[in-house]
Subunit: 392 residues, 2 copies
């Protein structure tokens, strides 16, 4: 593995997001403009200081008939002629946009970069959206044969249960915790607490996953502003340093993977991210992870090294990932309760990490938060992206 | 305007492409793997030396039901777990992928990067494809009202004719020249010469644009391999230096532009590219430009400063852009004759430039070629990307 030393260090100097939920009277363009303007205002600069941008969105072509999202947004953000580029990596699109922004600043190509993530999903029927999301997996070997995402994650859940004794109650505990966190987040799609029974008694989607094991269909956008670390303090009092950005790939179809009980892409990306930051999982004060389904969070906290393989479910049931524990997971409510506008999720994770590291997370603040991590998965794990952040 | 000084200079050390055309027995995955493998082999390295990748593709979600193209390709190229990221900017997707590759190497994030572009377009009916391509413009204000791309470029052509006296014969001359060049390129979709009459007598698509004024619907892929310039000579005898990469934006809808007879995004990107390379249009020995319609090439050679505003059509008719002239344009045959698999086009332009700068362009070689330029447009001009290349 190559040692990555970025030519220039990068910091986040602004963050903002829309409420996540069903936006019936707000379009794709409005959502991402709102988030972008909030992030730029938060950085205390005017838009004409921005000299480049990136936006993550998964399926705008199929969801709203619009491609060329970079050009569209430069226009609607009033940023012409500065360049904005769209990046796509399914549900990891947002983190990939963040990663391109980091490279843009680190390379010297750009100085002040806005990074957005957006998806407008609720305007189509659920079966259509499910088919569109299926394009994040292997269209020829999975989706074409009927395997939508709940089915794919259900296979992983069954195998995790078989190998490690993970139970449906343990998975339900992920949902209960994330709804509890989401209830403290005014941007979350769901702000109501639920019980284990709520999950266990809910409608079966793909055995053993019930509707409360699944993240929802959501509209929303999030954005951050990046600057070179050395000048970041001249813009804001609390810049957040990006300590490392790592991305890895794995087979796109589940049947080609070595294991179904963890994501190798996350394991590889995490290893790289920790090495580059010269830190270990124990150094993390909290993390935002990709809980598109409850089993995904259990695999994530194992893949990231917070818990041993097979012990993630038990740890969750015992409250070891709740606010107040040693490693609070998904203080935002995660994809499960905060919502999952797929292209926006990776950037929303960064926004939550920034708020935590600045001490601005209100009722869900992690006390003394100094170092945070985000993990964002594309599809069923063909892409995974890990970022580590630190306050100064 | 900020002075961009990249932290690390970048070179192209490998290039390859598939034949462009109608590939009835070859899928999306096969096409891009073929191009990628050719580029990596051309660089004289084995795949396991590659540590990152980018791929440009516009509309795989709608064309083949598949998103998450980065993850898919890492898998099918046998490159797991190295990261590959998809970039989208409509018909400029390929150049944007090249640009991300440059930033990845310049930033120190990656060392050896493969950049691909691909589109598989011929499996759907022409009306469906036309609707999908319309997503490169303004879906709400143009496409929804019926304005597909031939209509949008027809408006620009009419205005150019009105303001500058450009004629239909001058536009036809673009097609005639590019078919003549394409006839010397074994990778081109059309390898037959045509006459002015062929164009003038062909079916009207959107007045004044006839079918021979339009680039075709094409399947194809292209790829290059990037490396830090300082180590590039250790890999290959003839590395090609990337002197500058510039991108700019403009309003996505034609009705919001200041002018309809040129693309401001190209003008801004060209100005930046020339400044960064400390060169002028006169220093270019040849160029690959975005001739999605014949009028687009006329605007491009004016926007890039090769000819004065309004004189591009006359210059073309007089043979001033043909092979053997001072500034040969589209020696590959351009989008018009080589074909236009939209996501692949920007990378194909880079491949043609590399071949010319290495002296490997066979019957269409520009003698003494030392510096080349490529210009790639997204949609009707909301994005434009200019790259300048030099042999060592």
């Amino acid at each position: 593995m190559l040692t990555v030393i970025l030519m220039r260090k990068v910091a986040i100097i602004g963050a903002g997001m829309t409420a996540f939920g069903e936006h019936w009277e707000t379009g794709f363009r409005d959502l991402v403009v709102e988030a972008g303007v909030k992030a730029i205002a938060d950085a205390g600069i005017s838009g004409d200081r921005i000299d480049g941008g990136f936006v993550g969105t998964m399926a705008s072509g199929r969801l709203i008939g619009q491609e060329h999202i970079g050009g569209l947004l430069a226009d609607y953000m009033g940023l012409n002629p500065i360049p904005i580029t769209r990046v796509e990596g399914a549900c990891a699109s947002g983190s990939l946009a963040l990663r391109q922004g980091i490279m843009a600043v680190a390379s010297g190509m750009h100085d002040l970069v806005v990074v957005g993530g957006v998806e407008k999903m609720t305007d189509l029927g659920v079966n259509t959206v499910s088919d569109i999301l299926g394009g994040a997996g292997d269209q020829e070997w999975e989706l074409f044969l009927g395997a939508t995402f709940p089915a794919i994650y259900a296979l992983m859940a069954r195998r995790h249960m078989h190998e490690y004794g993970t139970t449906e109650e343990m998975m339900a505990a992920v949902a209960v915790k994330n709804h509890k966190h989401g209830a403290k987040n005014k941007y979350a799609q769901f702000q109501k607490e639920i019980s284990i029974e709520t999950v266990m008694d809910s409608k079966m989607i793909a055995d053993p996953l019930k509707v409360f094991d699944c993240s929802p269909i959501t509209d929303g956008a999030a954005a951050v502003v990046l600057a070179p670390l050395d000048v970041a303090p001249s813009y804001v009092k609390k810049p957040i340093e990006l300590l490392s950005s790592a991305q890895a790939s794995d087979a796109i179809a589940l049947h080609s993977r070595e294991s179904m009980t963890g994501l190798r892409a996350t394991q590889v990306a995490a290893k790289k991210a920790f090495e580059r930051a010269q830190l270990t999982p124990k150094d993390m004060d909290f993390a935002e992870v990709h809980d598109c389904f409850t089993i995904a969070e259990i695999m994530a906290i194992e893949d990231l090294g917070f818990f041993k393989r097979g012990e993630g479910g038990k740890a969750t049931l015992e409250g070891k990932t709740a606010l107040g524990s040693e490693i609070p997971i998904n203080t935002s409510g995660g994809l499960k309760a905060c919502g999952h506008p797929v292209g926006a999720t990776g950037v929303k994770q960064a926004v939550e990490v920034v708020w935590q590291l600045r001490g601005e997370a209100e009722g869900r603040q992690v006390k003394g938060a100094h170092i945070g991590l985000s993990q964002n998965v594309g599809g069923s794990g063909a892409t995974s992206v890990v970022h580590i952040y630190r306050n100064l």
